[in-house]
């Protein structure tokens, strides 16, 4: 049986999750994730074709709030937590490109 996850796939998900791994880390994370996914193969093998998925234990619907204004936070309190700020805004290094 092939390994459940390859080193390249681990590198790919690390990149998607904005995590940087050294070569050593890549090796041992590949082994560890592989072991967990290997264990999950019992689930993958189950026939669940007629079973609906459960996203939530209890199915509530239409939980809504009235469109009424509530107090906002004090800006000084918000910006006091910012790693860097300027003119009441959060400052970040160049973003390089537009959002997708």
């Amino acid at each position: 049986m092939s390994a459940p996850i390859s080193r390249d796939e681990v590198a790919h998900v690390a990149n998607l999750a904005r995590l940087q791994l050294t070569d050593d880390e890549l090796d041992h994370f590949t082994d560890q994730l592989g072991a967990v996914l290997e264990h999950a193969r019992d689930v993958a093998a189950l026939d669940t074709s007629d079973v609906p998925p459960t996203a939530h234990p209890y199915e509530l619907t239409n939980v809504l709030r009235p469109d009424e204004v509530r107090p906002t936070l004090d800006r000084d309190e918000v910006m006091a937590q910012a790693p860097a700020s300027e003119d009441g805004m959060f400052r970040v290094p160049p973003v390089l490109g537009e959002a997708p």
Binding site: V13, A14, A17, A44, Y58, P83
Partner: protein, 482 residues
């Protein structure tokens, strides 16, 4: 001694004006000072704020007011509950120094009931772990034997109650994070029905599984705290808009006629013999008290672990994306924002968090969603169905809480999968959304506490607590580990 007293007794004496909230607090702070250096239950002890709050309670009592059902009761809060102006870290470097601008709903409710928060307790980083060893600020130790882990992820909250730092505390339970450390530390730990306690202000690990619940040294104290923190909250969409089960009213009802099933899938292979023996004794105690005890089957429960380790990391990978160095907490600078995100997260998160983020990212990614996340959600349905079938025959179910008693620090850190197996008995309730609690029931061959898990269907807290009360009477604890 004061630190051996229950929350019920403490609150009663404060409300009656027999004892001051301040003297109660000082007794607990003294206990913290004495043993905290070897236990490390807390990331932060908020003595000063607590003293001010206790003095305020005393002023109100003097003025003839009733500060509420937890008047002057010290309580420890897991450090993933937001406390306004008080550092909240999730035991992660990435949140080091962050002070939330708001209180969690449960924190507000505790304060409104007169409780005194004494500090923020240690946990596995972002509640990911079963030993409290995955903390950026060092492990917590088991008050019964400091060479052993307290369990996790709410290890600090469990240890603080076991050590008499507070009579009660709050934890959060995503896959057993209240019940397993309760078992290992010899205290009562409750995971309520999903939606019974507001999650607003609980820093998310896995949103569809997380639930806040109490630790206490007695079943009655746990019920008291649950009644204070539970109930509908419009700030949490998943909060259930129905009345809280009247747990305290029925605590002394006994178990005569109650149908109790021992879950066979969670009682055989992989469970240490001394733990299994205690579960059998617990069942005998219930039978002696008039319960009808039988064997129950929840076949899909054996798939719980696999399903959980796909669902929880998937949700976590998304919940933890926001720690990007832009708005709060740690930032490791770089020449552009994507690199800044990368360096911040790489330095800010520990290995277990990284592992789960990557696992979850993988489970959700294109091409694997159906095989992993989608499949796990279907298994969740199977587990719910199997529990429903079991609850047609039984009112409550019984199992060990943890396969073993407390293990030594460092024993399981090398192999994540071995660590994950600790949660095999507790995970199914989270997937089903049902309530479950751990009650101490004697000790194992090593002399360390054993916990018995009582499981109930959704909103079955009344029956669950009736069983717990009978077990407590059969094998009382109640005193502090010294």
């Amino acid at each position: 001694m004061t630190i051996d007293d229950t929350a019920l007794d403490l609150a009663a004496s404060v409300r009656a004006g027999d004892r001051s909230a301040r003297e109660i607090l000082d007794a607990h702070l003294a206990a913290i000072e004495a043993r905290e250096p070897e236990i490390h239950a807390f990331n932060l002890v908020t003595s000063e704020v607590a003293r001010d709050a206790a003095d305020e309670i005393d002023r109100r009592v003097a003025a003839g007011e009733d500060p509420g059902p937890l008047a002057g009761v010290p309580i420890a809060l897991k450090d993933n509950l937001c406390t306004r102006g008080v550092a909240t870290t999730c035991s992660s470097k990435i949140l080091d120094g962050w002070q939330p601008p708001y209180d969690a709903t449960v924190v507000q409710r505790l304060a409104a009931a007169g409780a005194i928060a004494v500090g923020k307790t240690n946990l596995d980083e972002f509640a990911m772990g079963s030993s409290t060893e995955n903390s950026a600020f060092g492990p917590t130790r088991n008050p019964h034997d400091t060479s052993k882990v307290p369990g996790g992820s709410s290890g600090g909250s469990a240890a603080s109650v076991a050590a008499g730092f507070a009579p009660v505390s709050l934890g959060s339970d995503t896959g057993g994070s209240i019940r397993q450390p309760a078992a290992l530390c010899g205290v009562v730990g409750v995971k309520p029905t999903y939606g019974l306690v507001s999650r607003y202000g609980l820093i998310a690990f896995a949103s569809s599984l997380d639930q806040i619940g109490p630790f206490a040294r007695t079943v009655a104290d746990a019920a008291l705290v649950l009644e204070v923190i539970g109930g509908h909250d419009p700030a949490d969409t998943t909060s259930i808009p129905q009345a809280l089960p009247p747990v305290r009213e029925h605590l002394d009802d006994g178990v005569a006629g109650l149908r109790v099933g021992i879950v066979s899938e969670l009682s055989g292979e992989g469970i240490a013999p001394d733990v299994a023996r205690r579960v059998s004794e617990a069942a005998e105690a219930l039978a002696a008290a008039g319960a009808e005890v039988g064997e129950a089957s929840v076949p899909a429960a054996i798939y719980g672990l696999s399903a959980y380790y796909l669902i929880a990391p998937a949700e976590a990978s998304s919940n933890l994306a926001r720690y990007d160095g832009v708005r709060y907490g740690l930032r490791v600078d770089a020449t552009n924002t994507p690199d800044m995100n990368l360096r911040t997260r790489t330095e800010g998160f520990g290995d277990e968090v990284k592992r789960r983020i990557m696992l979850g990212t993988y489970a959700l990614s294109a091409g694997y969603y159906d095989a992993y996340y989608g499949k796990a959600q279907k298994v969740r349905t199977l587990i719910i169905r199997d529990f429903a079938a079991a609850y047609e025959q039984f009112d409550v179910l019984l199992s060990p809480t943890s396969p073993t008693t407390a293990f030594a620090l460092g024993d399981k850190t090398a192999d994540p999968l071995t660590m994950y197996l600790n949660d095999v008995c507790t995970i199914p309730s989270n997937l089903a959304g049902d309530p479950a609690m751990s009650v101490p029931f004697g000790t194992g061959d090593d002399g360390l506490p054993v916990g018995v898990q009582v499981l109930a269907p959704a909103f079955g807290e009344v029956d669950m607590f009736r069983v717990a009360a009978v077990l407590e009477a059969a094998a009382p604890i109640g005193e502090v580990a010294r």
